[in-house]
Amino acid sequence: MNSSAPGRQLSSVERVALKRESRRNILLCTPAMIVLFFAASGPLLVMLVYSFLTPGDYGGVVYKLSSDGWFRVFFHQDIFDETVSVASAHLSIFWRSIKLSLLTTIAALILGFPTAYFIATRPVKSRNFWLFLVTIPFWTNLLIRTFAIMELIRNRGLVNNVLMKFGVIEQPIQMLYTDFAIMLGMTYVYLPLMILPLYASMEKLDFRLIEAGYDLYANRFRVLRKVIIPLVKPGIVAGSILVFIPSLGAFVTPRVLGGGKNMMLGNLIELQFGQGRNWPLGAALSISLLLIVMVAMLLYVKNMQKNKGEQN
């Protein structure tokens, strides 16, 4: 072979064709890149800068470098005696966000796993219909779905009314504006994100393996535990991360269902740009949230790559 040397020379026609194609590709992508840079990536960089500036008195910033924003993420300085203590209010909100997101993920998994299995075992023709039923709520307004939950569980809502009518309870249970409400709402709105990837991996499930499991004396529970769950694990991981990430950054659901007190990270961030008037702190909190999400995202990508590797 004449061209075994690394980095072979392209012929002039090849070079022209390659250049034309890459120029075309770049030109086609440029307008979208400009808009995305201006209204998505660029602002994140600006925000990073803002997290190192000094807060202005009435919101906004003073253009002077300061580590105050980041400092306040973790520590609290008393206004009067200037003693420094751990910012327990912030940390408890971080903790609540993570805790509620994990609980939401688990609840969604408990509900989503059987549902995805149910869809995957339907006849091929009707599967698309069931999937469609899962997708519809996903594409409808998140605020409206949260609102629907709110109406159900409020003190004079349908659930309390029915329970009181049948004499199960005498006083309405306070469900709205609790952590339970937030968790219920997030499970409700993010459930499709659990079902869809779970279904994707269950659809590929080879039922001959399950037959083999039964053939080799496993009972139903053991087939589920030793055969099905290991086989669909990629779907479980994918679904869990897809539910966990938006839960962690949730803003609308905790605001509507949690009231003013039961804040999550999203609401804490909003507070800094509203009454809190500490933009650098808000920016630093946002970046912290982004970092946690990035780590989860990285796990997700790793999981995807591992599956691809196993399939090949």
């Binding site: 061209s3 075994s4 690394p6 980095g7 072979r8 012929s11 026609v13």
Partner: protein, 362 residues
């Protein structure tokens, strides 16, 4: 046959990928394809035949060398400026327009007047007997019909050269046989040069004026089907086209200047070939149907023992183990009781037809 050259491929190479992933699809290939001929590129998958076709069409760009069309270099022209059309393996019919719109596509892109397009499309529909389905969508017709539309579409602009990329491979056996004859007739009627790509040696032999056998990015031999079959130049060609036997032999020149081949076992036969790799140890090939079995070793060119008799309808394949420990297959026509007399374990002699010994280049 006119001997004007339609397409010249001169020293063309094509390499895909970079660095470690580099694959050489064509390695300095040269061939002249004459006007009005049915020329076939034959070879196993991955031999570079489709790449060569795509280079002529302009879908790929050569890494080296030149391609001429009627003496003019076209390597730098984009496909839409080359007077060459292709029948694709997948047909690539446009699913969003009708059969006649597909056939007229090339002409309308050339901005031909509407009435001319209409006339040509009508003529083409008639040519491929698709008049009744002119207004169908291309996904509503059968595979064989799609094949005809693809052919008509490529012929409509009356190209100088028509390229056909395994166009019959998706059809079932019977339809394929029919289309082979139709294609051949069509080529005669239109007088357009056809360059046909296939991996099916039988298809190549029945349809072509000339065949180029390719392997691993090189053209091994170019010739008429008969030349290729009777006088394969290399082991690969002999093996790829039809069944054959390979033997080791000695080649030397006799006193009167004739070339003599000494077979295993000592008998010598004359060869009328003119191109030789040089005297000494050579490989030879003998087609199974150009040998016959005889009783007793007296008049035999080769001798051995039958170790298997395989009946296959028309003929019987008798597997013989020669005394030199080389296998040899003889094809015996199943006429009367001729084949019945041979059975395993029997000692036999093999008689070769004159001119059946072919000395290989490698």
């Amino acid at each position: 046959m006119g001997s004007t050259v339609a397409t010249s491929v001169i020293d063309v190479s094509k390499t895909f990928g970079q660095d470690k992933d580099q694959v050489t699809a064509l390695d300095r290939v040269s061939v002249d394809i004459r006007e009005n001929e049915f020329f076939t590129l034959l070879g196993p998958s991955g031999c570079g035949k489709t790449t060569l076709l795509r280079l002529i069409a302009g879908f790929e760009h050569p890494s080296g060398g030149k391609i001429l069309l009627h003496g003019e270099e076209i390597s730098h022209l984009p496909p839409f400026k080359r007077p060459v059309n292709t029948v694709f393996q997948s047909y690539a019919l446009f699913p969003h327009i009708t059969v006649s719109e597909n056939i007229g596509f090339g002409l309308s892109m050339q901005d031909k007047p509407a009435n001319e397009i209409k006339e040509t499309v009508a003529a083409m529909l008639k040519l491929v007997q698709m008049e009744s389905l002119a207004d169908r969508r291309t996904d509503q017709i059968s595979g064989g019909q799609q094949q005809r539309v693809a052919l008509a579409r490529a012929l409509a602009p009356h190209p100088k050269v028509l390229l056909l990329d395994e166009p019959l491979s998706a059809l079932d056996y019977k339809l394929r046989k029919e289309m082979q004859i139709e294609l051949k007739t069509l080529q005669h009627e239109t007088g357009i040069t056809f360059i046909f790509v296939t991996h099916d040696q039988e298809e190549a032999l029945t349809m072509s004026d000339r065949v180029a056998v390719m392997n691993q990015g090189r053209i091994l031999q170019v010739g008429t089907p008969k030349e290729i079959y009777d006088h394969p130049a290399e082991r690969f060609v002999a093996d790829f086209i039809g069944d054959t036997n390979f033997l080791a032999a000695d080649l030397n020149q006799s006193d009167n200047g004739r070339m003599m081949v000494t077979l295993p076992g000592g008998r010598t036969v004359e060869t009328t070939q003119s191109d030789f790799p040089g005297a000494g140890k050579v490989n030879i090939t003998i087609r199974p149907e150009q040998a016959s079995l005889i009783n007793g070793p007296s008049a035999a060119d080769l001798s051995g023992t039958i170790n298997n008799v395989v009946y296959s309808g028309n003929d019987t394949h008798v597997h013989v183990m020669l005394e030199s420990d080389e296998p040899f297959v003889v094809r015996v026509q199943n006429r009367g009781a001729q084949s019945a007399q041979w059975e395993s374990g029997q000692a036999v002699g093999i008689k070769l037809e004159p001119g059946s010994v072919q000395v290989l280049q490698d």
